[in-house]
Structure formats: structure tokens, C-alpha cells
């Protein structure tokens, strides 16, 4: 699924957790522009934050010379979020299931599970020239397709 977006919000940050404040601010702006309900805005913010933290920590290994970028757009029917990093990439299927009994008490590994629980589509691909691209789509209420 590809969305035709009349309006989008974009941001590129260095791979430092301190830069996440700007991400939160951008999501708030987008939520307001797209008239999202508090509930959807909350889950979009959580999904964006989890994916940006993954991009910074796991993709770019917290190397501040590497960038993580974010694009949030909407055509009124769905919200599309794209997060890109400069890492080596990974397969969603290779991730350990954090709900397995053996992983339940581990301190990390729940980000993608949270994202998948809310988003209707989560697609991972390799960027041209290297890096990882995570595309997430949330269909808005009243727009089933």
C-alpha cells in the first residue's frame, strides 16, 4: 500500500537520544494537523518513538555522525510513518518474541511488538545505498480499506 500524501512532516536527527524531544514535537504537530484523536495520536507517538529509538540504538549504534530520519504523512484515510537509518538492517522475522516465557523478564525487545500491535502494516526494507527503511501504516477510523 502506498499513500498519496497531501501533507507531510519530516525531520532528520543525529543519533542521540537527546534529539528525541524534536521527534515528540513533530508528532504533536502532525497529530494536530491531521486532526487525530487523542487515542490515535498517543499510539502514533509511541510507535514513532519506538522506531526512532530502534533506528538510533540498533540501526546506527548510537553513532552521532549517522542520521535517523522520520516522515509522517496522511491522505486523510491513513497515516503513513517512514523511519530510516544508516544501519545494516535486520529481518522482522528474526526478532525474538518478547512474550515467550524465556524472554518475558528481559529488559528490552518489546518495541516492534508494540508497533505491530497498533499499526495495520509494518514493512521493513533496505534503502538504496544502505540503511534500513521501516514503513508503518495506520488506517484511520471510518476508512476500512
Amino acid at each position: 500500500m502506498t499513500l498519496k500524501a497531501p501533507k507531510s512532516f519530516e525531520l532528520t536527527i543525529p543519533s542521540r537520544l537527546e534529539a528525541l524531544d524534536a521527534v515528540q514535537h513533530l508528532v504533536e504537530q502532525a497529530a494536530k494537523e491531521f486532526n487525530l484523536t487523542d487515542e490515535i495520536a498517543y499510539w502514533i507517538e509511541l510507535s514513532v518513538s519506538e522506531s526512532m529509538i530502534n533506528a538510533i540504538r540498533h540501526g546506527n549504534k548510537s553513532d552521532p555522525t549517522k542520521a535517523a530520519s522520520l516522515k509522517i504523512s496522511s491522505d486523510g484515510h491513513a497515516i503513513e510513518v517512514i523511519v530510516e537509518d544508516e544501519g545494516k538492517g535486520f529481518n522482522l522475522e528474526d526478532l525474538a518474541d518478547p512474550t515467550d516465557a524465556q524472554n518475558l523478564l528481559k529488559p528490552s525487545g518489546r518495541g516492534i511488538l508494540i508497533i505491530r500491535s497498533f499499526m495495520d502494516e509494518v514493512n521493513l526494507s533496505t534503502r538504496e545505498g544502505g540503511g534500513t527503511r521501516l514503513q508503518m501504516i495506520k488506517r484511520l477510523p471510518g476508512n476500512p480499506s
Binding site: 537520544l17 507517538e45 519506538e50 528481559k106 529488559p107 528490552s108 518489546r110 518495541g111
Partner: protein, 115 residues
């Protein structure tokens, strides 16, 4: 709003009242440091009140899990109080509701820790 943490004590039970956002960075470090200090001082019974927490990310959940295992490894108990719907949803999605004992009523929660 970042996270705020206040502690109060009812006999041998320490109640940690959290509010705001429990996210990667300062919030999680504050929770970890507070629990470690209380454990070092000999406390073993903890109630984490999440009533005023309006946002928690996977790092925040991870810190609750770390707190739970750290306390348990030292022979103590850590339970949760007053989960908001969003926090409960996240604990459900991650199956952490099967790990934590949680209460809606503070008196009941304290009673369960006094055994």
C-alpha cells in the same frame, strides 16, 4: 512533562508515586536509582503507583521489569497499583500482566504485601 517520582511509606511498604512520562533516559534512570537505594537501605516491599502516568514506552516497561527482578532477587516484592487503561493495554500486549501483580485499591495492595 518528564517523569516525577515521590516516595512515601506505610510501615514497611514503600509506595513510589510516579507521574508524567516514563521513557528512555532520565525517567528510567531515576526509577532504577531510587529502587537500588531503597534496597540498599533494607526495604523489600514496594508498590509502584502508576495512576498519574500518562505515557510509558518499551524502555519504561523494561525498567519496571528490571525493578521487579532486582527486588525479587533480593527476596522482596514489587507490585503495581492503579494502572491506567493505556498502561494496562501495553502490559497486556507484552504479556507483562502475567508477571506483575496489580491492584486498583491501595489498601488491598498494601494488605497483600503485609501477609
Amino acid at each position: 512533562m518528564s517523569m516525577l517520582l515521590k516516595t512515601r511509606r506505610l510501615d514497611d511498604v514503600v509506595i513510589l508515586d510516579l507521574s508524567g512520562r516514563i521513557t528512555i533516559g532520565e525517567g528510567t534512570v531515576m526509577l532504577r536509582d531510587t529502587l537500588q537505594k531503597l534496597l540498599a537501605d533494607g526495604d523489600r516491599k514496594f508498590l509502584v503507583n502508576l495512576e498519574a502516568v500518562d505515557y510509558i514506552d518499551s524502555s519504561g516497561l523494561g525498567e519496571l521489569v528490571t525493578g521487579f527482578t532486582t527486588v525479587r532477587n533480593q527476596g522482596g516484592h514489587l507490585k503495581l497499583l492503579k494502572l491506567t487503561r493505556r498502561v494496562r493495554d501495553l502490559l497486556q500486549i507484552t504479556k507483562l500482566l502475567t508477571v506483575f501483580e496489580s491492584f486498583d485499591n491501595e489498601t488491598e495492595a498494601i494488605k497483600s504485601l503485609r501477609y
